[in-house]
């Protein structure tokens, strides 16, 4: 998998609802396209995403081929404590890409 872009506020007040944006570079090949010679291009997509806040999963997504290339997600979570947000993308080959972001509660 490719480069990931994650947007998490560096600081927040406890109880704040924070917006998280996460994007990863990936072709998200649908499996419905063909080469010029007619050979089908095999499906290769990220099918699962999780976001955990200090180890507790707070958001999860299942993707199908209708999710655009370089899948982008924006969602919210409540800032509770200083710690680490862990983002995991899993593709059809069960390969994982793991990224983290720190958040400090003021």
């Amino acid at each position: 998998m490719g480069r990931a872009l994650i947007n998490v506020p560096a600081t927040a007040k406890a109880g704040d609802i924070i917006e998280i944006k996460a994007l990863v570079a990936h072709v998200m090949e649908t499996g419905y396209r063909h080469e010029v010679d007619g050979k089908p291009i095999p499906r290769d997509i990220i099918n699962h995403f999780t976001c955990a806040y200090n180890g507790v999963v707070v958001f999860e997504a299942d993707f199908y081929p209708a999710i655009a290339a370089n899948p982008f997600l924006s969602f919210t979570t409540i800032a509770t404590e200083t710690g680490v947000l862990t983002f995991i993308w899993t593709d059809d080959k069960a390969e994982k890409q793991v990224e983290t972001a720190r958040i400090t509660i003021t």
Binding site: I17, I18, T30, Y32, R33, H34, E35, V36, G38, I41, Y53, V56, V58, F59, E60, A61, D62, F63, Y64, P65, A66, I67, A68, A69, P71, F72, L73, S74, F75, T76, T77, I78, T80
Partner: protein
């Protein structure tokens, strides 16, 4: 010496080529397949219109990347919250688009992503609440450049 192709030969070749193109085209999902996919999620529970809002441009120039936001009216407390939002389409090759799981720690029941649309069609978003009820919204989208099925 090979004889030049007759008009009939050309027509037969043409018909054969057209036939093979039709055969290799991917099958599109149908509104019935979408209903089946939704039934798999709800297990036959009633779906009420309301609470859910799909925000998507009504006219899309490029179906390869369509920004979409789904939000649900919910206090998102431990007692009353959205557990799942699922997005469906009726005319892409597959009826499912994405499924998003959340809970009271989300603060808001809202998710945004970018999707592919093979053609103009209706999108359906379904939200499941923690009390087991299902709510939905539908929206029509017109697409001028299709996604998914074009060859590379």
């Amino acid at each position: 010496m090979p004889s030049p192709a007759t008009r009939r030969d050309v027509l037969i070749l043409g018909a054969g080529a057209a036939g093979s193109i039709l055969l290799t085209r991917p099958s599109a999902a149908t509104p019935e397949q979408m209903r089946e996919a939704i039934l798999e999620l709800t297990n036959g529970a009633p779906i009420r219109p309301g609470k859910v809002h799909i925000d998507v441009p009504p006219l899309v120039e490029n179906g390869n990347s369509v920004p979409i936001t789904v939000s649900v009216d919910s206090p998102m407390t431990a007692d009353a919250h959205v557990t799942l939002i699922a997005l469906f389409n009726e005319k892409n090759p597959q009826p499912n688009v994405g499924t998003f799981r959340m809970g009271p720690r989300s603060g808001k029941a809202r998710v945004a992503t970018r999707i592919r649309l093979a053609t103009s069609q209706q999108l359906t978003a379904i939200a499941r609440l923690n009390d087991g009820s299902f709510w939905s919204d539908k929206v029509d989208v017109i697409v001028t450049i299709a996604a998914c099925t074009e060859d590379s």
